[in-house]
C-alpha cells in the first residue's frame, strides 16, 4: 500500500501543499522547524484520525484558519482510493471517500494503514500506562477497524457510569438526595460487555506481538531479550473467551462497588489496565542469568529508545503479516536515524529497505543511510521541493 498523492490545506504550517509520492523510500530533509514532521503527521492522521503529537485537532489547523483539509490518494493492489478529511475544531469533522461523504469519519479507517515511529514514542516506555494502552488500542484498530467502535462505546459507557458515580458520591458528601442508583446495574452490564471484548482483543494482540517485539529488539539493540505482558484489573487467565472476561468484569465491578460509590469513579476495567514491558539488562554481570526487569524506571535512555522502536517495528511486522487485509502498511520514521549509531542505522535501513513505502524525515542528509536513497524532498520555509 502506498500514498501516491498528498494534498494539504491549512494543515499545521501548510496553507496549501500538493506533492506526488512514489513507492519505496522517500526522504524529507530540512532544518529544524521547517515542516517535515507536519507532513508525515498529516499522513498518519488519514490512517488513524489522530495525531501522534497532540490530543486535540486544534493545533493541526493552521494558526488563524477555521479548518484544515487533508487529502490523500491511496493505492493498494492496483486500485486508488481518495480519502479526504476536513478538520473542524469548532464542530464535527467530516470525511469523504472517493468524493462520497461518509456518515462518520471513522468509516475511512482502514483505507490507509500506517505505522509511525517518532521521538515522542519514547513515552511508550517511559510514560504513563495510558500511553501504552493507546498504543495497543491503536494497533487493534489498525488490524481490525471495528474496534474503533468498541473503544468509542467503551469510553462512552464509562463516561456515563462515571458521571452517575460522581453525582452519587457528591450527593452523599453533601448529604443531599442523590441520583437514582438503580440504573447502575444496566451500565455495568454494557460496560462489561464492551469491556470484555476490548480486553479479549488486547490479550490476543499481545500474544501475537510479544515474540515480534523480542525479535525486533534483539536486532536493533544487539542482544537483550524482551517480554510484554498485560496486567489487568480483571485478573484474566491465559486466553479467556470474551464472555468469560465479561463475567470477570461483572464480578470485579461487584467487588469494587462500595469503593466506587465512595470515590465516585470506575476503578476496574480496561481503562485501568497496563501493558507491561520487560527487558533483560545488557550490563548484567557475565555469567549471571539475566532476569527480566520492568523497562519503565529501569531501562537506560538508549534501551528505552530501542524498545520503543522495537514496538513500532513489531507492529509493522504484525500488520504486514496479516497480509490480505489491504496489504503492507506505510512505514513512517520521523527523526529516527539521528539517535542511532552507524551499525544500528545500517541494520534498520536493511530491515526497511524492501517495504512498499517508507517515509523518512531527517534534519541533515548525513542522517539518511545510503541504503535508503530513493525519492528525496528538501523541506524549507514551508516549501517541499524535489531534491
Amino acid at each position: 500500500m502506498r500514498v501516491t498523492h498528498l494534498s494539504l490545506a491549512d494543515f499545521r504550517s501548510y496553507a496549501s501543499l500538493e506533492i506526488a509520492l512514489q513507492g519505496g523510500v522517500t526522504a524529507f530533509v530540512g532544518p529544524n522547524g521547517q515542516g517535515k514532521t507536519n507532513l508525515v503527521e498529516a499522513i498518519g492522521y488519514i490512517a488513524t484520525l489522530d495525531s501522534h503529537r497532540v490530543a486535540t485537532d486544534q493545533p493541526l489547523v493552521r494558526f488563524g484558519a477555521p479548518r484544515a483539509i487533508v487529502r490523500a490518494n491511496v493505492e493498494r493492489e492496483g486500485r486508488t482510493q481518495l480519502v479526504e478529511i476536513e478538520l473542524n475544531p469548532g464542530g464535527a469533522n467530516r470525511a469523504r471517500l472517493n468524493r462520497n461523504p461518509v456518515p462518520r469519519p471513522r468509516e475511512v479507517l482502514g483505507v490507509l494503514r500506517t505505522v509511525l515511529f517518532a521521538p515522542e514514542d519514547l513515552a511508550l516506555v517511559k510514560g504513563d500506562p495510558g500511553e501504552r494502552r493507546r498504543f495497543l488500542d491503536e494497533l487493534l484498530v489498525a488490524r481490525w477497524p471495528r474496534y474503533a467502535g468498541v473503544r468509542a462505546d467503551y469510553d462512552r459507557v464509562l463516561k456515563q457510569r462515571n458521571t452517575l458515580l460522581r453525582t452519587a458520591a457528591m450527593a452523599r458528601r453533601n448529604k443531599t438526595s442523590g441520583p437514582n442508583l438503580t440504573t447502575l446495574d444496566a451500565w455495568d452490564h454494557h460496560l462489561a460487555k464492551v469491556g470484555g471484548e476490548l480486553v479479549g482483543a488486547r490479550l490476543a494482540l499481545i500474544s501475537a506481538l510479544s515474540p515480534l517485539v523480542d525479535k525486533c529488539y534483539a536486532e536493533i539493540a544487539e542482544g537483550g531479550a524482551t517480554r510484554i505482558g498485560y496486567r489487568s484489573t480483571l485478573s484474566p487467565e491465559p486466553d479467556p473467551a470474551v464472555d468469560v472476561l465479561t463475567e470477570q468484569f461483572l464480578a470485579a465491578l461487584g467487588q469494587a462497588r462500595a469503593n466506587e460509590l465512595d470515590r465516585g469513579i470506575t476503578l476496574v476495567g480496561p481503562h485501568r489496565d497496563e501493558m507491561v514491558l520487560e527487558l533483560t539488562s545488557s550490563a548484567g554481570e557475565a555469567g549471571l542469568s539475566a532476569g527480566l526487569m520492568p523497562a519503565r524506571g529501569y531501562a537506560s535512555h538508549g534501551e528505552s529508545w530501542s524498545y520503543a522502536l522495537a514496538l513500532r517495528l513489531a507492529a509493522y511486522d504484525l500488520l504486514r503479516s496479516d497480509g490480505s487485509e489491504g496489504g503492507e502498511p506505510v512505514l513512517i520514521l520521523d527523526d529516527v536515524f539521528a539517535e542511532l549509531d552507524a551499525k544500528r542505522r545500517r541494520r534498520l535501513a536493511e530491515r526497511v529497505s524492501g517495504a512498499d513505502q517508507v517515509l523518512i524525515t531527517a534534519a541533515v542528509d548525513a542522517d539518511v543511510p545510503e541504503q535508503l536513497i530513493g525519492q528525496k524532498f528538501a523541506v524549507a520555509g514551508g516549501l517541499v521541493s524535489a531534491a
Binding site: G91, R104, D153, Q160, T163, N180, T183, D185, A186, W187
Partner: protein
C-alpha cells in the same frame, strides 16, 4: 454580540435542541429577512401548538385530546405495548405498519451526562400500566445507541420479574442513530425479528 432584540432572538433559538450558536444566527437572520406574514404564521402556530397540544394521559404521546388517537382506537391490540423514547418514534413505528398494539412514550433515555435518570422519565407510569395484567408483551424500541440500550436493559430488568415477555428490536438498525432515521423497511424488519432480552 448584536443589539438588543436581535441577540435575544439568537439566544432563544440557541436554546433549541441541536441548534448551535452559528445555526441560531443563521435562522435569526433568515427570519429577519423573511416575509412578515410568514413569520407571523410561524409565531402563531408555535403558540397554538403549545396551547392545544398536550400529552396523552395514558401513553404520553402528543395528543389533541385527553387521550391520543392510538389509545382511543378500539382496534388496537391491548396485549402488546411498544416503549419508545419520543413521540417522533411513534410516528416512525406507525409507518412500518408492523405493529398493532399501543405505545408508551418515555420522554427520553437514561443519560447521567445529561442529568437524565429513570425518575425523569415516565417509568413509574409504565410500571403502573403493566400492573393490571392486560399487557403481555413489552417491546423495547428505544434508540439503537448506548443510552437507548442501557435504558432497555434497565427496563427489562424491572419488567421481566413481572412475568411479561420482553423483547428488543432485532439488530440491523443503523447503530448509534435515532430510531426515526431508520427507513420503514429496516425498522419493519427489526420489528419482525425482535427477540427476547436476556439480562
Amino acid at each position: 454580540m448584536y443589539e438588543g432584540v436581535v441577540q435575544d432572538l439568537i439566544d432563544e433559538l440557541g436554546h433549541l435542541p441541536n441548534i448551535g450558536p452559528k445555526s441560531a444566527q443563521r435562522i435569526a437572520f433568515h427570519l429577519l429577512q423573511a416575509d412578515p406574514a410568514e413569520v407571523r404564521r410561524l409565531a402563531e402556530v408555535l403558540i397554538r401548538a403549545k396551547e392545544q397540544v398536550r400529552f396523552c394521559a395514558i401513553c404520553f404521546n402528543v395528543a389533541e385530546q385527553q387521550e391520543c388517537r392510538i389509545c382511543r382506537d378500539p382496534r388496537r391490540e391491548p396485549a402488546s405495548l411498544c416503549v419508545v423514547e419520543e413521540s417522533k418514534d411513534v410516528v416512525a413505528v406507525e409507518k412500518t405498519r408492523e405493529f398493532r398494539g399501543r405505545y408508551h412514550v418515555l420522554g427520553g433515555a437514561i443519560s447521567p451526562i445529561d442529568g437524565v435518570g429513570p425518575d425523569d422519565l415516565r417509568v413509574k407510569e409504565l410500571l403502573k400500566r403493566l400492573a393490571d395484567g392486560a399487557i403481555t408483551e413489552v417491546i423495547l424500541a428505544t434508540d439503537p445507541n448506548l443510552e437507548g440500550e442501557a435504558t432497555a436493559t434497565y427496563l427489562a430488568r424491572l419488567i421481566k420479574p413481572m412475568g411479561l415477555r420482553v423483547t428488543r428490536l432485532a439488530s440491523g438498525l443503523p447503530v448509534g442513530g435515532d430510531l426515526e432515521y431508520a427507513d420503514e423497511v429496516t425498522l419493519g424488519r427489526a420489528f419482525e425479528g425482535r427477540r427476547q432480552l436476556d439480562v
